[in-house]
Every structure is written in C-alpha cells, then in structure tokens.
Amino acid sequence: MKVKEKRIDEGRLSLDMLIGLSIFLFAFIFIGQFLPSVFADARSEISVFAEAYKVSVLLTEDPGRWINRANTSEKGFHWESEWYKDNISFRPGLARVGRAGFISLNKLMEFKNATLHYGGSYANDTWIRDVFGLDSPSNSYHVNISLLIPYSTSYNQYYSRNNSGQNVLTIGPPIPNKKVSRYERLVNLPVYSDFIQHYANLPNNVNYRINSTFPLGGALLIVRNTSNIHAQCWVEVRVNLTNTTSLNSTYETVYELGDRVGSTCDITNLTGIYPLTRELNEGYEEVYENFTQTYNELPDNQSVVVRIKNLNCTFALSNVGEIIGDLSSNEARIVSKLVVTVWEG
C-alpha cells in the first residue's frame, strides 16, 4: 500500500515538473527568438536614418564644392560649371550660394547630368552613394532622391513633373517594399518656365480652358486691375472632366471671386494674389466621383476652365509644386518636397 502510493507520487511529480519546465522554456525561447530581431531592426533603421538626414542636408542646404587638383587655388561653390573638366574634384549640393533651402536650377540640372554621366541612368545610384559617403566597408545602402508635389503624403506620392510630363528629379532605384528610412525636406525652386505648366495673362473677358493633370502641384490667380469700375467684374474657376469617346462631361465651380449681381467693380478689394491649389484638387476629387457615378465610365480629359469678366488677371498652374509669390517678382518660388529614402541592401 505504501509502496504503491509512493510510485504514483513520483510519477505525478515528473509530469508536473515537465509542465512547469515547458512553460518556462517556451517563454524563454520566445524571448530569445524575439529579442535579437527587435534590436537588429532598431539598429539598422537608426543608422540608416542618419544617412538619409545627411544626404538631405548636403543637397538642400549646401551649394557644393569644387577644386582643381592641378591648381588647388582654383576652387569654389559653382561645381555645376566645372565638374566635367579635367582634374576637377567636386561634391554636389543643390542650394543657391548662401541661401539654404533655395535650389539653384543649374545645379539641379548638372546634378542630373552628372548622375547620367557616372551611372549611365537615373536609376543607378552608384555615383550618389560614392559622392555622399554612403559606401562603407561594413554597410551598403541604396538611396532614392525624388521631388514630389506638396500635396503628397508619406503614403500617397505624386512626383513633380515638368511641362513635358517628365519627373523633375528621380534618382536611384525604385523604393523597395521593405523597411526604409525616409527624410522629407521642403525646398524652394525658382520660377522656371518649364516648371509652370500654364502661365497666361488673361484679358478682360475670356473663357480660358487649360488641359491639366490632377492632383496639381500649385495654382495661382493674380487679379491685377479692371478696365471699367462701373461694371460687374468677377472670376470663376471650374474643374471639367470629359470622356472623349462618349463625350460625356461634368464640371463643378470650385472658386468664385467678385460680385455677379451688382453693377460696379470693387477693384481695391479684389486685387491680390490668390492661391487655388486646394480648391482645385479637392474640386477634382468631387467631380471625379460625380462623373464615375453618373456615367459609369472614367474621364480621360481633365481641364481647368477660368472665366473672367472685366478683370485683368494672371493665371498659373504648376505640376512641380505650390506657387508662392507673384511670379514676376524675384522672391517668388515653387515649393516642393525633396524626399531622400535610404535602405540597407
């Protein structure tokens, strides 16, 4: 009797021991597996983030440097007109000399040319990695540098495009679908004719139609003066969508200025510089929804219609960025997002 009970006792003991131990081991192994991966992630992301920050600062805040190796007293900031000559060492930077955050057009163009020259294509980031010191013995990175319109968000990206529909700046391989470090800067580009999709001084009475692509980078209406203050004056801006096959068409008025009832023109209160980017982009989304719901098809022509009565105006659209300032003044600028993305691989 006593012996039998003892045997049962021992058996139970080992089973409980087993359960207890396995619960402990299970937790222990789980932590063991989980811990290194968490640290490895943090480590790579943190070091990559610093690289993305560095590249963005060198590009947007620094004019770059060049030096003639054969005659070291020849040196300076304007590498864009020297880099292709013999014996020249240079590091690119895109900022205007002494104005951090303001991009020099020549430097931007030559930066693209140099990438093509050393890498063969914009998608090749070998030269960029080399010149910004991203290659080190222990790590290898890839970098993508792109210019986006400010309407873009981190999950919805729209490239800045010039008048021929090409990306203004996209350098480096496509961004992979894995963990990357993304550093975003706002840069000020000069008002360059190729960055302004449409720029027109509109006369007194006009119904002006501009084919455009949405979302827009920027839109600006400048009301300058009137020819007759004793008559109605107004501006109306519409977004118009059409399917060119079925000829179905929908429009919506997204902006109105002035008084269409009275018989005088309040020009002092109307004169001014009006940004319309948000109105047009939000209007487009509404019209698009209306169109697809009404006609069960997609529009293939997008246009902005500006109707002007008795006012002299200037109207400008850009697919590069937000237009800030009167385009004729030299402090005017186009604001875009310069996004530097760096990842390990």
Binding site: F24, S73, G98
Partner: protein, 144 residues
C-alpha cells in the same frame, strides 16, 4: 484515507517545504537581469551612433540663417534709428528664450552677428552689401 484534507497551516508548510521548483525562478531572474543589462548597454551604443543628428537639435542653424536674411533684406529699408530699434526688438524676443543675439555695427553695411545661448556661442562677420555675406566663412575660394 487518513484525513479528508489538511488544515490551512499545514498546507502552507507543505508548499514552503517544497523548494525544488524555485530553481526555475532563480534561473529566470538571472536571465532577466542579463537581458536588462544588455538592453541598457545597447541603448548607450545607439545614442553614440546618432551624435550627428542630435547636433542638429542644439545648433540653431535655421535661427542664424533667419537673422542673416533679415540683415540682408530688411535693413536696407530702414534708416539708422529704425534699424537700431529693430535690433533691440530682436534682442528682446531672443532674450525671452534665453538666447543673446546682437548685430554689432562695425561700420556701415558691416555687422558682427552674435548668437549665444547655454550650448552655442556663434559669431559671424556680415557684409550686407556684399554678395559674399552668403558664403560660409573660410571655405569659399574664388567667386566662381
């Protein structure tokens, strides 16, 4: 069957006497301490790795550029007296944030910008008329 159950005190004593399982707790304690100390070491390592980015938080590059742009673009619209008063206002605004800022006039169109707080002491000579005001000092070389 001797007894249906133990009394409360006896049961407690039985649990207390059973010490063999506590090696598990002991072991887990050791492992936990190890993880904790490793994590702290690792964190210090991380902090050391991001010095360059942290420097940005303490060096006021954007404030200084803002001041330089004011000297370059706004002083030209003002006479001597108004310029003096503008500098006084800027001094006061920065003083309220614990920073000493001054444009010391050296001669006309030539200033010494001073920016000083608990972390940074910075001075730069500004020639307002000269385009070279924009050049970072000492690194420029020729005009081209």
């Amino acid at each position: 069957m001797v007894k249906k159950s133990l009394r409360k005190g006896e049961r407690k004593r039985e649990l207390r006497n059973d010490e063999s399982g506590q090696v598990l707790i002991l072991f887990s304690l050791i492992v936990a301490t190890l993880i904790a100390s490793l994590a702290i070491l690792h964190a210090q390592n991380l902090i050391a790795g991001v010095e360059s980015s942290r420097a940005f938080l303490s060096f006021p590059k954007d404030d200084i550029r803002n001041l330089k742009v004011i000297a370059r673009l706004d002083f030209q619209h003002l006479d001597c007296d108004a310029e003096e008063k503008l500098i006084d206002q800027i001094k006061l605004l920065y003083a309220s944030k614990g920073t000493y800022v001054d444009f010391e006039t050296i001669s006309s169109h030539h200033y010494q910008l001073v920016y000083s707080n608990s972390e940074v002491y910075f001075t730069e000579s500004l020639y307002v008329e000269d385009e070279d005001i924009w050049l970072p000092s000492g690194g420029g070389g020729g005009a081209s």
